[in-house]
Amino acid sequence: MTYPTPETRDPRPETRDPRLFDLIQQALAGDARAAARLMTLLESDPAAVPEIMRQVYPRAGGAHVIGVTGPPGAGKSSLVDTLAASLRVQGRTVGIVAVDPSSPFSGGALLGDRIRMQERFADSGVFIRSMASRGQPGGLAKASQNVAALLAAMGKDAVLIETVGVGQEEIDVVRVADTTIVVLVPGLGDAVQTMKAGLLEVADVFAINKADREGAERLFKDVHLMVHMGAVEGQWSPPVLKTVATEDQGTGELLAAVEDHRRFLRETGQYAERRRRAAETEIQGILRERLLASVTHRVPALGRYADEVGQRQYDPYTAVDRILREAQLDG
């Protein structure tokens, strides 16, 4: 085995496209228009993504990334808005990535998270980017993580990521966020029971939103009990807080809990551990994508295997063995 020389280790030692290079420099210097353009490229131009991220990623470590997730209608947008407002009062700048689902039929999307964030529009200290999920499962869009990184690299002190309305398993936000807030509302009834595995396990902080509604106290107690039962000495125990986002009630406490969690992660060394795990998932994802692209490139007749497996001539495992052999990637 020979080790690659520096020249061959990175096939793109310099940004090839001078226009893209300029755009990246402008965005990193705080130009909102350039940043918005880059975000579009991150969403829709796979060839530009590695070039952008090579410059963005090393500068993206400073922001605290806060994920806000929960079922549809829980009040995630309103809560993100009040959190952003509180952060601004503290003098901190904020980036917001708000994801809504794409239509599986037309591919279009109606992105409505901004409706709850109107008071932030005129504030140059807040950058809001709406994103359509574009068929990506997991509660985020494919580019959400990279867009959040760009906001961080632009110097935003906090980046809030609002997921689509989720069920039990759309928990990708966990590997992107430093702190994950799970927003619940009364009236979901037994849904909360079924959510115990999955969504509820990933919360660093619980917000019982619409806490002025009937059933809020019971939900609060249920979640509290669940957290209490799962508590482990020395581990973070997620605080459960009541909020009424539309009245800006409980926001201060919620933000304080996020701060507590951040401090806990720092003091216990889990901050670095979390980010390492997130990086591992990210690397694996990119590797999977690149390998698939490479195989597809080397074995153009991939569809033939699908035909034959579909007809039960042989099984999908055998097909993959043959494909890897044909691509000369086996062993």
């Binding site: 490229l41 037309s106 591919g107 279009g108 999307a109 109606l110 992105l111 901004r114 529009f121």
Partner: protein
Amino acid sequence: MDGHDRGAKVVARLLRDAGFEVIYTGLYQTPEAIVATALQEDADAIGISVLSAAHRHLFGETARLMREQGLGDVVLFGGGIIPPSDIRLLEQMGVERVFLPGASGPDIVAFLEEAVARTRRSDGQA
């Protein structure tokens, strides 16, 4: 956008079903907020619905801010209760097309597809 959102919602839904990603901002937007949103979202087009007779100010100021902030290549269109005699004036301000009540959905979609394709071509990106 003023205090009436039925028409805007219908158009937003129509465009979604035609495959557009539509950012719906809600009511009572100022030109500053509209342009800030379009800038952050890297929008290809801005659509404004006005039924309050403030169309001259809203469109005029939006178009001015767009130019000021380098969004001159973004398609500006709109609709609502607008006297046909004002359409010419709005077009001079930089509004590419004004749809009056009764405009057909396919017309709006066709206009936008064509206009966005045109600006993307001249610009080289979305």
